[in-house]
Amino acid sequence: MKAVAFEEVGRVEVRQVPDAGVEEPGDAVIRVTQTAICGSDLHLVHGKVPMEAGETLGHEAVGIVESVGSDVSAFAPGDRVVVAFVIACGTCWFCRNAQSGICEDFRNLGAGIFGGDLGGAQAELLRVPNADANLLRVPDGVDDERAMFIGDGLTTAVYGAALGQIVAGDTVAVVGAGPIGLLSAQAARVHQPGDLVILDRDDARLDLARSMGMTAIDVREQDPVMALAARTDGRGADVAIEAVGTVEAFESAVDLVRRGGTVSVIGLYSVEQLEVSLGVYWARSLSIRFGGIAPVHAFWEDAMQRLERGELDPTPIISHRLPLDEAAEGYRLFAEREATKVLLVP
């Protein structure tokens, strides 16, 4: 089968690899009909996480179940499904308590040894362990493109908004208008904030946010803290959702919330460090909630229903649709910020 493989830092290639197959009784194999490139794939390709040449990439997929192992009871060949990017065991304490992102046996598709040596979703076939836990049936009214976002980005956004504990009428600021930021702003809207703004420094992203009906603030023109202060009688936002994953974005999110405010951190961090004044955080009564890896299993049914009802719609962030064979070009476009979201069709 064809699959997108890491070759060396900064370079991927579509190559022939052995077909994915059922290896354990809980496995399902799906024929991928829709996959995509995620920001976290770039971390792998750019060497933030060790990868070996030939290891396959990708963790977002929709497809048709091709075959199942003997222990799979919830799915059968022919089912149209979306895959969770977190491959969880489904049975440990964390999984049973809506925290599958920190599952005892956490694995991640297409992330090399870091992810438990599972194959990637940017492929024609994909093996999904613990399939009963890690697949979700796609309703007829939801097409493959939209459904694919349920396995990762859109559900992460729904989770991030939930972490913010937004109360109707709140002022909510989303830091970063990348794919996850834009989806987070959509997800935050569901909670009926009184005011919702999204902040970025990139013209294309700001324009996209505006085209999606959002109030977008260009932080090159307006200081984010003062922009939020001006909208809240000087207090600051009630909730910030940090959707970038840089120290600067984290500090910005912390600075722009009011005293007693909440920061939901869904940007991805690995080795970044920051010296903070605990006394100031304490005196400001801040609630800083680190999302970690999103427990998509706890939120994806809700996200799918909202998608089906049209409350959430990730399609505006799709900038490119490419055949799988052109994955390398997709990675280039994404890395050079010429693309917001690149979909790949095997």
Partner: protein, 139 residues
Amino acid sequence: MARFASEDWWRDYIARINGSSAYREVSATWEGAVAFGIGAEPDKSFPETVWGILDLWHGECRGGGVVPAEEGEAASYVIRAPYSRWKSVVRRELDPIKGIMQGKLKLQGDLPTIIRYVKAAQELVLLVGEVPTEFPDEP
């Protein structure tokens, strides 16, 4: 009247610090330069971040003025905030210690030391409020 955070403005401020017996008294044991990062707010006609420094030592200001960012960031104590926050401080609308504790001004350096010199900070604010200041976002 000097434009806020200009060389003339710092010169006037430093002269007032050195002319204040009240400041000299409450900061007699203070040692360490304090840098001020005044963050850009292009929409308020303050297009670039400006750094200023006061070389404060045993009750007097031995020098200071506008400095490059790298010099400001390397000072013993660094306080950063957007331009509008500093404007509030200069106008005595925002107490700097309270501002630091509320996260409105960001301190890099030893917070307990700064807090021990709260009276010195208050004197510095009183003095800065006396500097005739032209703000760029005001006619």
